[in-house]
Symmetry: none
Subunit: 220 residues, 4 copies
DNA sequence: CAGTAACCGAGACGGTACGTCACGTCTTTCT
DNA sequence: AGAAAGACGTGACGTACCGTCTCGGTTACTG
């Protein structure tokens, strides 16, 4: 996302000259820009995210914007990544099912925010014919979230719910959860009700822990 | 998709006068336009689908194009719907697992075509901030495919694999299959290998038919 | 203006078969079309004269319209010529000055009608880069009006106001009167008030009959 | 014609800061655009004046063009006004007749240029149904040329050819000269030959200075 | 009285220009 | 050297009108 400023932060951290020559970049601009971008995404969708409008609303020149992010895609990735970075598992969960339910609920809530779903789908759409963009999205947006599945697996193992880590296929579980929630919320366009979350959680938990005595589905 | 001509086709089906007054629309233009649209989608992605280019490549005036479809969205929906309409279950499947595997494989193959994934994601992206578009996509593109799940359930019941139709939640199963395949192929950007298809099929089948004696996952 | 029908009329006049084979043209359509054309010119100016709108308002198909006039220009010429054909000198005038004043007044009144000035200027504008159109306008619209000057000269000679016809240069007088009125009404955009008509008439009459004792201009 | 830049020029003239912030407008673009507009008018008439073609030929983007002039009309007015601004009376004329003859000759020469007559008539035509446009044409194109008549009258008075300024009605004389030349050159479509100029000059001079001893018309 | 030729309405068709908008770059002055 | 301002080239948008064409159907004269 950021290019030079990330580089700058790194240099600063290792003790290199902390200040490049010339006027330093405004520290407040970044936040103002991202906030403006999110607001415009929420209001006008992917097409409403206009570089000119972002600059105007952030009280910043277009030049400043492009100095930090090279394109609309870069800016959108930055905005999305920041929001996704806030996803967390709860501190304590009684069992795997509760952890699954929790992550489904949190992810669905995130997709309920218009700026999130708009940016995410806009990026995915453009990435279908742009391998470089697709790679960046995967690396900076998608893959970091797999930590949730990895952590859930570790907890399940610690609790003794599963015996071998191989019993849980992280990539597959992640695709099932993320894909299904996106499909339900954005394509089927139905709200992620408590009932739906219960049904989906049961579905996933049954696939992972197929205890025979458990009912397959709760009543809808 | 079509507006007036769809209405016409319907009228024709019920036996009303099949020919409206005035010069009839060119019968070849529709196919040429849809073919051109698909070609451009495959070559240039969602942004490459330009009304002017579609018209040029189809050997047709832009006005002709707009006479049939009111917008780029309408055109894309028509192109997508036509491609999706070809999805079929195989004539005979030995069991539910084979039917699941088959539909996953076919859907993944369809998403492997660039014109398909490009149009589908472009539409979904734009629909995130356009409820009317979202509704049309759901009605004309998504919902018709649920027939595959309904038919699979009917077969499973006929075979005695499930005892009550309520054991299979059509909407949920559909969202799981469609969402997961899309996420895997388009977002995670990994090919739908045979191995992956097997693992995912096992996952779904286990959730639906949680026989205790069956291993949860085949070796990756 | 009309092409085939003019030819038909000619044939009829010389006694040739008065009726071509096939269905004869609707006799009411011509008037309806010209009336519609004039109405649209008056309402929307030159740009408001749309072949499609003319057809719609006349309750006629565009085909019918183009069968009679080959282009928008042809149609406008027909509409203008019909209106100009109504210009007449009064039956009796006491002297040359009165005849001049009268023709100025009538021509100014005609140019006061929006459909007239709109069509006339639209045609002249397009004719500046279209010699064929310019020739047709001159022959069918402009030159026929010179009869007014010729007739005025004949009357003046009959009255003894001038001794030789060469004293009055028909083409020049026509250009002075027509051009000045157009310039005043359409370009300078001032109304052709009685006072202005008097001043202009005096100007022309003075140039033609330069009696020394007469004041050059009445008080404005 | 120009909107903001005209305002800027004015500010600059009174000594205010001559440079607004931001990138200044290209100084060469204006001339290139007006030259391209004149060339296209000369080649293709009023219909040949296409905003897209002007931009292409001027080596400029269409947006640049619309940033300076809001419409085809604005652009044409600018082009015409610039050409008309070059009209001058000769430094010294022996008498009123020579001044009249000179201005007629110069104006006829100007109308002989296709870009001039095309733009002028195109504007006048469109102005017949657009009062705002008509007003702008009068103010920016027509009225400034009345200075020629005013100056000619001042000279005639200085020479003693006329005793009172009221003997020459500026507006009327202007309409007569401008209107007649336009009518002759553009509508009657005859060249402004020396002979015609002499005859018309005599006509005007006779009306203004009706000396009895002078022959009314030279031999044609 | 059937043919037939030209008419009529409706409207689709290829083409061309319109004026607007967003992108991402460039060019200026100021800090 | 960063920042604000805004002009710049590019290219797509969806609309409107032109003049042509292609239908089904309607008159009249003609053989």
């Amino acid at each position: 996302m950021h290019d030079e400023s990330a580089e700058t932060a790194e240099r600063r951290a290792v003790g290199a000259p902390p200040q490049r020559i010339g006027r330093p970049r405004s520290t407040t601009a970044d936040d103002a820009i991202l906030a403006a971008a999110r607001a415009l995404l929420a209001e006008g969708g992917w097409a409403g995210l206009t570089m000119g409008d972002v600059a105007t609303r952030a009280g910043v020149a277009k030049t400043t914007l492009y100095r930090r992010w090279h394109s609309k895609h870069d800016l959108a990735i930055a905005a999305v990544a920041e929001m996704l970075g806030t996803l967390r598992l709860p501190d304590r969960g009684p069992d795997l099912r509760a952890d699954i339910e929790d992550v489904v609920r949190r992810f669905a809530a995130l997709l309920g925010r218009p700026e999130m779903r708009t940016a995410l789908m806009g990026l995915v759409a453009d990435s279908t014919s742009d391998p470089a963009l697709r790679r960046r999205i995967r690396e900076e947006v998608v893959d970091p979230q797999k930590r949730l599945v990895v952590e859930g697996r570790a907890r399940a193992e610690a609790r003794g719910e599963i015996t071998a880590p191989g019993d849980i296929d992280v990539d597959l579980i992640f695709d099932v959860i993320a894909g299904t929630v996106v499909q339900h919320v954005l394509v089927s366009a139905e709200p992620a009700s408590d009932n739906w979350i219960q049904r989906f959680t049961t579905f996933v938990a049954t696939a992972l822990l197929p205890h025979p005595g458990q009912p397959a589905h709760p009543p809808a």
